[in-house]
Amino acid sequence: AMEDVIAKFVSQKISKTRWRPLPAAALQPPDLFATGSWDNEDNRISIWSVGGVGNVDPSGDYHAEPQLLCDIRHNGDVMDMQFLDQERIVVASSTGAVTVFRHHQNNQTLSASQRWEKAHYHVGQETSCGGAACTGVICNNPEIVTVGEDGRINLFRADQKHAVRTIENADSSTLHAVTFLRTTEILTVNSIGQLKIWDLRQQRNEPSQIFSLTSDRVPLHCVDRHPNQQHIVATGGQDGMLSIWDIRQDTTPVSLLNAHEAEMWEVHFHPSNPDHLFTCSEDGSLWHWNASTDISEKPSFLHQGGRSTTYFSHNTVNKSVISAWLSNDPTKDRMEITNLISNQALSVNSLDVLGPCLVYGTDAEAIYVSKHLLA
């Protein structure tokens, strides 16, 4: 039902939304999220509460808007943002800086606890400001990996002043996103449609493997790895296409799924229910992809908008491990896709899913929260 989604207009274009991770074995749904803004004269990192336990709104929390707990100025557009732990957020800036902010929960303030000012920069530039936008960041406490428009890959440790490792000129085109494949390996996507695996243990400044879309060179903007089956990777491209890759096998995607009409900005497997996947796009839509093999066990959707069920033929090769995402069994070869936004207009730049909760932010300067995502 539509009333499940709570909207709040925040007077700044939102580029990133992230739930604060839950402590291990937590039973409550997430109650706190962070947002970052872009294209403002004065960009901000903000922490919002959605009224969980111990934070009960007097009017009853079922309809409570997100409440701003605290915010802090951020120099440059917020390009990416990840929680390092329960208290610290790593933020990538268009200036090339990478900052770790600490959320002090006792007095509800934010402060910068660590900053790598020129993590990404251009060399041989004539102008004074040589910063290159840091486009992606991923954390695996205490390690932080960043990528940027300068084609550089940095490995930081939260407690160390200097980069642990830098791969100069890792990519000749722009790196758009990064994620961990394993603790020592990362995946990057770039603006010429390549997916690369880097082994950080190797001293060689070359990727250990390169995967490529087709000859179309369609830029890839986002990447996520299946939380349980590490060989399954999803990427989203400039043409709005969702690609599923099996990195054990081919160097081309297992399936290409027609999705959005414009850039896919983010793709996320549901962390605890990875048969569900969520994507958002410049075209103003947010899609829920349900690949669970038992279609009768449908989750309850926010509301039915746009397309309902669509069938895709996967150009799959034989698979040894059965996964909903790699399946080529024709009876199971169907996916339910729902657009969660009915009146789409401006870009949905970011989304995050955790437990039963979804949060997303748009260029229409609004954040949306749903707390009843999956049944």
Partner: protein, 666 residues
């Protein structure tokens, strides 16, 4: 919106102007002012602006210097665009606007009207939400100046909502006689001072009837036509004063019996008028036989019920505005007033009595009551410091088919003109520009041109932002702008020595010339360093290689290197030769290619066939012959040595291959 530029004084200096897309530059010239010009301070003071228009005047900077220097004033066209709390209004109303444009025109008659009324109410609810936020901000603001600013904005928004609501009743819904008055009553109740708190205060006191506000509250309720609530209060008085029970009973009965139009029943207007006439006569009788003579309060209420102008005017303090007076008077004298008759009752002079002059808000409401829609929009444009209101209201009224095309400047109609102004304002904002795009899209006349001009001015500080702007242009087939954006980004990348990115951008723009330029940079780098940079890109050119000849060469040349590395010498040799014979390689690169042939000529196994060797020789001779005698002299020994080495290698290869081919043939 008209605004005064503080500090600009046309009485002492002549001023000059330059209009930009979003700003106006006002500049003082060196020329003094001769002849009679109204004294200083007269500019724009012909009329009082609505509160807020002046305080938010967008002068962003003035020149510096002594008395002899001239000032330059930068005047923003739409100062309200920069108010942070109004961004919610701009963003939310953008969604409603889009919805209205997408809405089904074919819905006819009643359902279409219902839809338009719904849209109008949506707009108003956004205004009200924004007003509440602004009010909260005013309450919680620490800085007094800020508090004043917020409060001013609250009153501006409140005026906007008042005007919009009236326009909704008169133009969008176009309420007919009967319902019209009910709507106007709602309008007055919504906007005139909140009486509910006073009612609560009186009722919660120990003896309500003795409360000092008691009769005021009763009167306000009567003036607003809330008779049931008034009766409830009066019953307190009745129980407090047993001597006058009968009198109360009669008044209570009269108030109870007042005929009102019921929306549910199929009562006709004539029936209502008849009933109303009877009731009116009954009130008249009681007044004339002095039933209420002993109680001035009650007598006055009875007079009000009779629509007595003087009696109502006596309550001027409680009415506060002339339009409340008008609605109250209509309620008790002409409840079935027709829309077109409103103009006869809209008399502010009677209420203001020459004590104060009408303000812009009064003029706007008056124009609305007179059904002068164009006048309403014109007055609003002058009085308000934003284009948001007139643009959205006009668009809605245009969807109601109420505006005949009324051409203004540049031949666009009024709706379009106002939308263009508003969207231009959005584009002047560093962040709200994205909203402006959709408004331009819905201006069939000049929207496209405006968008083209504005979109090129968006600063592209990150690739992501460039991609967003590019998407806007590509969706609208704005080839020129697509090329220009890609070029800007390619140039930036080139300046940053990001050849790979630069090439990607020029491939996206299908900019062959630029692709050639970048390919040359790659080749130059190769010649200098002896190895390729950005292999991941060059190895992946695919079909985009065909964009420019030079790019094709770059891709093919790299392919040659790959074949060589893979020791596929025969293929490598064929490709190398083809690059020259098919004239894919630029002449300046031939020497490099021929030099690349050297190790192939020296292989243990013969690679080049006789025919191929001859061709190579011809290439070498073409190259050396092409050079003028003069140049030859200048060229130092290195080049000559190279040529000699090549000739030797070619000759040796020829010898080997002749023997080999001869052996095989034999």
């Amino acid at each position: 919106p008209s605004q005064v530029v503080p500090g600009a004084d046309p009485s002492t200096r002549q001023l000059c102007f330059a209009w930009g897309p979003t700003e106006v530059l006002v500049c003082e010239t060196q020329f003094g002012r001769r002849g009679g010009f109204p004294s200083r301070g007269k500019v724009g003071s012909g009329r009082e602006l609505l509160p807020g228009a002046l305080t938010t005047c967008g002068v962003t900077g003035t020149g510096e210097g002594g008395p002899s220097s001239s000032h330059v004033f930068v005047v923003r066209k739409d100062p309200d665009i920069y108010i942070q709390t109004l961004r919610k209004l701009f963003n939310e109303s953008h969604g409603i606007f889009i919805g209205l444009q997408r809405s089904e025109e074919e819905l006819a008659g009643k359902s279409r009207k219902a839809q338009l009324v719904k849209v109008s109410k949506l707009y108003r609810s956004v205004i009200r939400a924004c007003m509440e936020d602004m009010h909260q901000a005013a309450v919680s603001a620490q800085d007094p100046a800020l508090r004043v600013q917020y409060s001013t904005q609250v009153s501006v928004l409140s005026a906007i909502e008042l005007i919009w609501n009236l326009c909704e009743i008169l133009f969008v819904e176009a309420a007919a006689a009967g319902p019209l008055l009910l709507r106007l009553l709602d309008w007055v109740r919504l906007h005139v001072c909140d009486v509910d708190n006073m009612v609560r205060e009186v009722l919660s006191s120990e003896a309500p009837a003795k409360h000092e506000l008691f009769w005021n509250v009763v009167n306000i309720l009567v003036l607003q036509g809330r008779l049931d609530e008034a009766r409830h209060l009066l019953s307190k008085e009745a129980s407090a004063d047993p001597t006058a029970v009968k009198m109360y009973k009669i008044l209570d009965d009269l108030m109870k019996k007042m005929p009102v139009l019921s929306v549910c029943t199929n009562q006709t207007l004539t029936e209502l008028e008849l009933k109303w006439q009877h009731w009116h006569e009954e009130c008249q009788r009681y007044l004339q036989d002095g039933t209420f003579a002993s109680n001035s309060h009650m007598e006055s209420i009875c007079k009000i019920l009779l629509g007595d102008e003087d009696a109502i005017l006596e309550k001027k303090e409680l009415l506060t505005t002339w339009y409340h007076f008008m609605v109250t008077r209509l309620l008790y004298s002409h409840p079935t007033v027709k829309p077109m008759e409103l103009r006869f009752y809209a008399q502010m002079d009677l209420f203001l009595g020459g004590q104060s002059s009408p303000e812009p808000l009064d003029m706007i409401l008056m124009a609305a009551f007179e059904f002068e829609i164009h006048q309403v929009i014109k007055e609003c444009s002058i009085a308000l410091s934003n284009w948001w209101f007139v643009a959205h209201l006009t668009d809605l009224l245009d969807h109601c088919k109420l505006l005949q095309s009324h051409n203004v400047y540049f031949g666009s109609n009024m709706r379009e003109f106002l939308l263009l102004e508003y969207a231009s304002g959005l584009f002047s904002h560093h962040s709200l520009w994205q909203l402006g795009v959709d408004y331009f899209d819905h201006c069939p006349g000049h929207g496209r041109v405006y968008l083209e001009l504005h979109i090129e001015r968006i600063p592209l500080n990150t690739e992501q932002k460039a991609l967003k702007v590019l998407r806007i242009c590509e969706q609208r087939q704005m080839q020129e702008q697509v090329r220009s954006i890609c070029k800007i980004m390619a140039m930036k990348a080139l300046r940053n020595s990001r050849l790979g990115s630069a090439l990607s951008w020029s491939i996206r723009a299908k900019d062959a010339a630029f692709a050639t330029l970048i390919s040359d940079r790659f080749l130059k780098d190769y010649c200098e360093r002896g190895c390729f940079s950005d292999l991941d890109l060059i190895d992946n050119l695919g079909s985009s290689m065909l964009l420019s000849d030079r790019l094709t060469f770059l891709g093919k040349y790299r392919e040659f290197h790959r074949l060589y590395e893979q020791k596929r010498f025969a293929e490598a040799a064929r490709l190398l030769l083809m690059l020259m014979t098919a004239h894919i390689a630029p002449c300046s690169f031939w020497m490099t290619l021929l030099t690349d042939a050297l190790p192939l000529l020296e292989q243990k196994e013969v690679v080049f066939s006789t025919e191929q060797t001859y061709e190579l020789m011809r290439c070498l001779e073409d190259l050396t012959a092409g050079k003028s005698e003069k140049k030859k002299v200048q060229d130092d020994g290195v080049e000559n040595t190279k040529v000699e080495m090549l000739r030797l290698a070619l000759a040796r290869n020829l010898a080997r291959v002749i023997i080999k081919e001869g052996t095989l043939d034999g």
